[in-house]
Symmetry: C2
Amino acid sequence: MGEKPTLVSLARDLGVSRQTVSNAINAPHRVKPATLERVRKAITESGYRPHVAGRQLRTRRSRNLAMRLHPASDGINGSILDRFLHALTESAQRQGYRLTLFTAHDDEGEIAAVDELLSTADIDGFVLTGTHHGDSRTAWLLDHQVPFVCFGRPWSTQVDPFEARHSWVDVDGASGTAEATALLLGRGHRRIGFLGWPAGSGVGDDRRAGWLRALARAGLIDEGAAAHSVGVEDSVSSGARAAGELFDQGTTALVCASDSLALGALAAWREAGLPDDEGEPPVIGFDDTPVAAALGLSSVRQPIEEVAEHVVANLVHQLAAAPSRGVQPHHQLLPSTLVVRRPDPHLLGREPPTPSQ
Amino acid sequence: MGEKPTLVSLARDLGVSRQTVSNAINAPHRVKPATLERVRKAITESGYRPHVAGRQLRTRRSRNLAMRLHPASDGINGSILDRFLHALTESAQRQGYRLTLFTAHDDEGEIAAVDELLSTADIDGFVLTGTHHGDSRTAWLLDHQVPFVCFGRPWSTQVDPFEARHSWVDVDGASGTAEATALLLGRGHRRIGFLGWPAGSGVGDDRRAGWLRALARAGLIDEGAAAHSVGVEDSVSSGARAAGELFDQGTTALVCASDSLALGALAAWREAGLPDDEGEPPVIGFDDTPVAAALGLSSVRQPIEEVAEHVVANLVHQLAAAPSRGVQPHHQLLPSTLVVRRPDPHLLGREPPTPSQ
DNA sequence: TGAGGTGTTTTGAACGTTCATAACTCGGTC
DNA sequence: GACCGAGTTATGAACGTTCAAAACACCTCA
């Protein structure tokens, strides 16, 4: 009771030295078992916790990670961000780290913010999201020897991402869209389109590539497959418009680069009055957002929780290494997977199908 | 350039004492103008930043705020959380504070986490979200004299929230639903229903109250208005089902407690084939989520950014006060406002209305 | 008996900052 | 010319921790 215990007060009460208590916490093997037990008991009884500032001042480590929170739905959007933040916080916590947020208006602002956080010395490492073509941040961080991990491959046409000098974790979007395409192929569709974003966006091109790969495997590339692929702005209404045109041209099913686009496609499909696949509309979204779940839309799901776990693990690994000599960068591509759903017939604006069998 | 500057190294280079440099930063009025200028120049030139751990150790202040990140869509859901987090981070940053996240599985876990963060002494104040009936957290925090502010009123039937012993900021949901109801009344609707959650959820009851108030003002309470109000689970499909029944019973328009419910109601309305209000479906959602924006659904918007600003301001105010004597709690209820939208006709599954101008 | 370990504990110093207080400077007053 | 007070600057100590190295205890072996 009374004042908050410190190393010194605890040691005094126990009749041992500061350092012994410190060792009991940080290097138990150096303490005689009997003493260790005595100290540990005192620690739990007094509820002693090391004061982070004292520790940080001496060790030059804060056990704090930081990440920039992008303005609403930039890079990773909405619900994905929620899941990512939560998973990241939890993973960090498990490893004894905390997650601090900061904002910035652009990449340059992010660099400035990182610089600030580093010079006040309360952040050990950073998580970068929203990697893009010509990203200026990674070079700066590498130059300044700042520990960091990217969520997202370095999208460069010049360099193989697996040759990058920094660590990253990313989701293989192509595997998911390929799986989605395969599913539609299995249901007999032959004119499967891809509804995505304009070319050049790394992430979008990756998702399109999976669709193309699945078609190629099925030997369906030659007959003008490219005509069934369009790139538009990521919104429900432009998705609806574009999907309508595709359906008019003979497309019978659509794999989409986002749930927003899929939502539009769903509306267009309903309007076009095309047949369904035994209750399931031939439209597949991406990101498995709550909207998709709510509407019963099949969607490709990113293993965000695993991404977070890997990001933190890698960061912690970097921090554990000697600060002088660098650590081997590590690159991890995790597969995305298709979540198959069957929508509530009410929401499709059709009569429920008569239960066969 | 060499090592990172510290107060001492900077003072040595300038030929003044540590304390003078420290004063130049923290109490400029105590330093002779000429000296002040010299010191300031040296600070900017050297890029000196005070080391937070050193400062924290001495002042017992970390300039760190913390908030529990609830598991996905609990309390404040999806996109609202994004906006809130972003606004909170930005507001905190403006005031020279940082935001740290942590997770917990329940209220008890949150209390334990807070206790931990406090005893390692690196958090100055907390933001509480997801307040609910019989919340055990506020009492604990008050008992332990921890500075905190709630986003959300204390939902107690016993006590007037404005008498609460702790500060809170909340959004007056009723004002938004009342506005929504008034809009529908203005368009000639007389049988306006409310599609919400089962009674007892504070937030939900508040939103329903606004609807009821607007009806009362219009003198429409007596004719069995209660029959047009239902409470169901917060999902699109149950919203669709419930809305369908209401429309069958003669309801012509719906104010909803969430965008999910509104989404369902929209589907039901479409299916029922009821008339629209010159292109606008008579359904209004709540929270103005990206889905609502995407579909062109009118929705009540919470001024989350303002909430965050007030939360941080209050917290900072508490922290500025002498730690011994408490600060007057402050209670702030901000109005929500209706965002009126007109959906893309494509998405309604109808022909666009002939432009009548 | 003493030299050399090995295992355990203690001591001095340092990390960078601010508080409390002392010291100095300078103009004005008696 | 000594004294005072206000303005400005400097000094000692402290915040709580860990590093580096010293000290101590005990055991083995020549």
